[in-house]
């Protein structure tokens, strides 16, 4: 007997377990693996902790440590030296391989997409039995249906190999915990490594229940980034299915223009409820933006921008930036305003960095800047942005007062989606 035995989940489910005298004890219904990842690399998180055993008519969870899996002539044998019942808490902290993994969709963290699990590969070592990888390939599919061997034999005549596709256990994240009572934020921990837009794509592909539970497990900052990236339908679904308080907290972390876009899609009552729940400062900005029609510049401008008095020195502005730690897009273009909020000029990070520290901002700014009116049609933006190569354009009202800015990121999205809708619909 070798010290390493590898086998598939599909090969062990439904097997009888025998005691040391060779007497059948019960039928294996499912295996339990620890669901809560404890650290970066920890073999403990993939050890099989329990087994769901059907003895007579009753099924119960038992510790897997007295169980041994061995292979003799391609046949899997399961032996057991004793039955230790698991507490309900131990069961709840685990993930059932057959119930929660097999045939379900899981996240492939490297491929950053959803895959469907055809089988799970396990290995028994002296230290215990471990979940090694999930099988997402065609070979696993054929094995489950029970026709892998004949088909492989036929194809080998033509020198064709069925490609096997495995994903290491470390690189997958289970999604479906619906029947378990475990702490979700901890069990979805692996998802935090994904980029918000990848996470958003995955959420869109998930069923409604799963997408809500994955989303609510994210911290507010991440949740805000993901919500921003979601398609409108999915945004509305998430916002409507979570408690108002939680949604309001997430919305506060988002730029006002994105929030306005989402609220625009909701029913008025719901939107009002959320606005009331949000902090006054954030909700006020959103309310102002909601006043604009969809096709006006005002509806897509952001009110998160930086403006300074022209009398400040370069040194003072840099100091202020260090304290405020603005978002990258706020630094695309910064503005100089006069006393009554009238736009006097613009400058960017480069202008600041190359200037002498004691120079006045009014001396380095570009005066008579290119700008948009808030009630101009959005179609005017693209032309302006490409003509002047701008990353952000200031938006003023008809009194020349600065209202916000249009960032190129938002325009790009709009332009692409406009082309896409024209193409598809």
């Amino acid at each position: 007997m070798t010290s390493l035995t590898t086998f598939y989940l599909s090969g062990i489910i439904g097997k009888e377990a025998f005691d040391s005298d060779g007497v059948a004890i019960g039928k294996i219904k499912d295996l339990l693996v620890s669901a809560v990842p404890s650290g970066q690399y920890d073999p403990g998180q993939q050890i099989i902790t329990g087994v769901n055993l059907k003895i007579g008519r009753e099924t119960n969870f038992y510790s897997f440590s007295p169980f041994r899996v061995s292979k003799a002539r391609e046949m899997i044998n399961v032996t057991c030296t004793g039955l230790i019942e698991l507490s309900s808490e131990e069961v709840e902290n685990g993930l059932l391989l057959d119930e929660n993994i097999l045939d379900k969709q899981i996240v492939d963290l490297n491929g950053r997409k959803l895959v469907r699990v055809n089988d799970v590969r396990l290995a028994t070592l002296p230290a215990g039995t471990f979940a090694v990888a999930v099988d997402v390939g065609i070979e696993g599919l054929l094995r489950r249906i029970g026709i892998a061997t004949p088909i492989k034999r036929i194809l080998s005549l033509f020198k064709i190999n069925i490609p096997a596709r495995f994903i290491l256990w470390d690189d997958v994240q289970a999604i479906d915990f619906s029947n378990l009572n475990i702490k979700l934020s901890k069990s979805y921990a692996k998802l935090h490594t994904l980029h918000p837009s990848d996470l958003a794509d995955i959420l869109e592909d998930l069923g409604k229940k799963s997408s809500t539970s994955v989303f609510s497990a994210l911290d507010e900052e991440k949740a805000a980034d993901v919500l921003e990236e979601l398609e409108t339908d999915a945004q509305v679904h998430i916002v409507e299915s979570l408690p108002v308080g939680k949604v309001a907290d997430v919305l506060e972390k988002m730029p006002a223009d994105e929030v306005a876009d989402i609220l625009d899609e909701l029913e008025d009552d719901k939107a009002e409820l959320l606005l009331k729940e949000m902090e006054a400062e954030s909700s006020q900005e959103v309310r102002e933006l909601l006043e604009y029609d969809d096709d006006l510049v005002g509806s897509i401008m952001t009110t998160d921008y930086l403006s300074f008095s022209g009398t400040k020195t370069v040194e003072e502005v840099l100091h202020e930036l260090r304290i405020r730690k603005p978002e990258p897009s706020e630094l695309y273009n910064m503005f100089v305003t006069e006393k009554d909020e009238k736009l006097a000029g613009t400058f960017n990070l480069r202008d600041l960095v190359v200037a002498e520290p004691d120079k006045k901002i009014s001396a380095i700014m570009k005066s008579e800047p290119v700008s948009l009116y808030d009630d101009q049609k959005t179609t005017a933006i693209a032309e302006l942005v490409s003509k002047y190569n701008l990353l952000a354009v200031p938006v003023i009202d008809r009194n020349e007062q600065l209202q916000g800015m249009v960032v190129v990121d938002d325009v790009v999205e709009d332009l692409i989606s406009e082309r896409r809708t024209r193409k598809r619909k």
């Binding site: 045939d103 249906i145 029970g146 008025d268 005002g298 193409k423």
Partner: protein, 422 residues
């Protein structure tokens, strides 16, 4: 800036109208796809053979179709998951494999029938099938793969309104409304192998298994919600009515012209040709045009949908927004179904009648399996929460399952007997 102040309110009126237009869709699209070449053929043959005798079957078909599509819509809205996903996750891999193997074969068979419709209708208009079928197959492939599928769907939907011209065809044929009424109120039929096969074919073509998958994914794609459910329901009712009304008038047109003259037909093309001396050249060409449009519409959607559901169930990447190397299985399946179906039609002496019978046999076996899966899924509280079936829906649903199992069993056995006899 007075205009800006009323922004929210004005948007709301548009939004309500938008919701209505957006939701009016899945049921109507599915209902239109339902009247494909196979359907038109079956209705024509039934009308020519039995006159008004089998029109009553449309009433139970309508009820069952309505109940099934409502369940699909509800499952799609509540879970956000496709029927293929749900079956794979809950029914186990072996049943899933059998269902989708059946779906693949019936997909190829049905697509072949659609190409037969293309070939037949173009022959009526004087174009050889060796020209029409390859051209249509290539056009359909380009249309779908080059990403203009959504436009195509809309165009076809508008064109499929041409099916309503069957009403004109039927009225031009001067039907005897009194006898039609009597035939519906007091159905009389001989019980024999042939008439039973016809009834099964009528029900089977009206409620095809792949449409359940199609309906549910269309509902998800539209992002419908439970709070707008009444619009969705209206859409389903309208879609089912379109299906049944078109079927009714095809049967009436053929029943009032061909049946009294004892003309027996095998294909929808024969119906178009036979209408010519009896109802005039225009009626014949209208019929052929309707058949052509319906065939292309379904030939576009069927292979695409079949490929998509198979990939969904087995976890292959699928979708027209994916590239060839990302979703290889999907494109191979889609292209394969289309090419195989077109080739079968172009084979000299292809056994078209047998292919059509056998794809209906597969449909017949598949339908109760899919329906039972659906009934189990929709009554599962873990999946549907508080939106599980009510008692009335369950009674109608399970009775439909029982009747369909009976019919399918008959469909499975009867053609074998009748083939042996002939």
């Amino acid at each position: 800036m007075a205009g800006l102040k009323i922004g929210i309110n004005r948007k709301n009126i548009f939004r309500k109208l938008g919701i209505f237009l957006m939701i009016l869709g899945p049921g109507i699209i599915t209902g239109s796809v339902d009247n494909d070449a196979g359907g038109i053929t079956t209705y024509s043959v039934a009308g020519a053979l039995y006159g008004y005798g089998l029109i009553w079957t449309l009433i139970p078909s309508f009820i069952v179709l309505l109940v099934i599509q409502e369940m699909n819509a509800r499952m799609g809205i509540v879970t956000g998951k496709g029927l293929a996903d749900l079956i794979r996750e809950n029914a186990g891999i072996k049943i899933t494999f059998l269902i989708f193997l059946g779906l693949l074969f019936s997909g190829i068979g049905n697509t072949t029938t659609e190409f037969a419709g293309v070939a037949g209708s173009m022959e009526v208009l004087g174009v050889s099938k060796y020209i029409s079928v390859p051209i249509v197959a290539i056009l359909v492939w380009i249309l779908v793969v080059k990403g203009t599928y959504k436009i195509a769907e809309r165009i076809f939907l508008i064109f499929s309104m041409s099916l309503l011209t069957y009403i004109v065809s039927a009225i031009m044929a001067k039907p005897d409304w009194g006898s039609i009424g009597m035939a519906i109120v007091r159905p009389r039929m001989q019980v024999n192998t042939q008439s039973m096969t016809m009834i099964i074919a009528l029900v089977g073509t009206t409620i095809a298994p792949w449409m359940q998958f199609y309906m549910q994914s269309t509902v998800i794609e539209k992002g419908l919600k439970m709070k707008n459910y009444k619009y969705t329901l209206a859409d389903i009712v309208v879609g089912c009515i379109i299906t049944v009304v078109v079927a009714f008038f095809i049967m009436v047109a053929c029943a009032s012209t061909l049946h009294p003259n004892g003309i027996v037909i095998n294909e929808a093309k024969d119906a178009a040709l036979a209408l010519k001396p009896l109802a005039g050249n225009i009626a014949s060409q209208v019929f052929a045009f309707g058949l052509f449009i319906a065939s292309i519409f379904s030939a576009t959607i069927l292979p695409l949908a079949t490929a998509f559901f198979i990939c969904e169930a087995f976890g292959f990447e699928a979708g027209l927004d994916k590239k060839w190397d990302e979703a290889g299985e999907f494109y191979i399946l889609y292209t394969g179904i289309l090419v195989i179906s077109a080739i079968i039609i172009l084979l000299p002496h292809a056994p078209l009648i047998q292919i059509s019978i056998w794809s209906q046999v597969i449909n017949g076996i598949l339908l109760p399996v899919v329906l039972i899966s659906m009934m189990l899924l929709i009554n599962n509280k873990k999946i549907m929460g508080s939106y599980v079936n009510g008692r009335t829906t369950n009674i109608i649903g399970w009775s439909a399952v029982i009747i369909l199992v009976g019919l399918s069993a008959a469909l499975l056995i009867l053609p074998l007997i009748s083939l042996n006899n002939s």
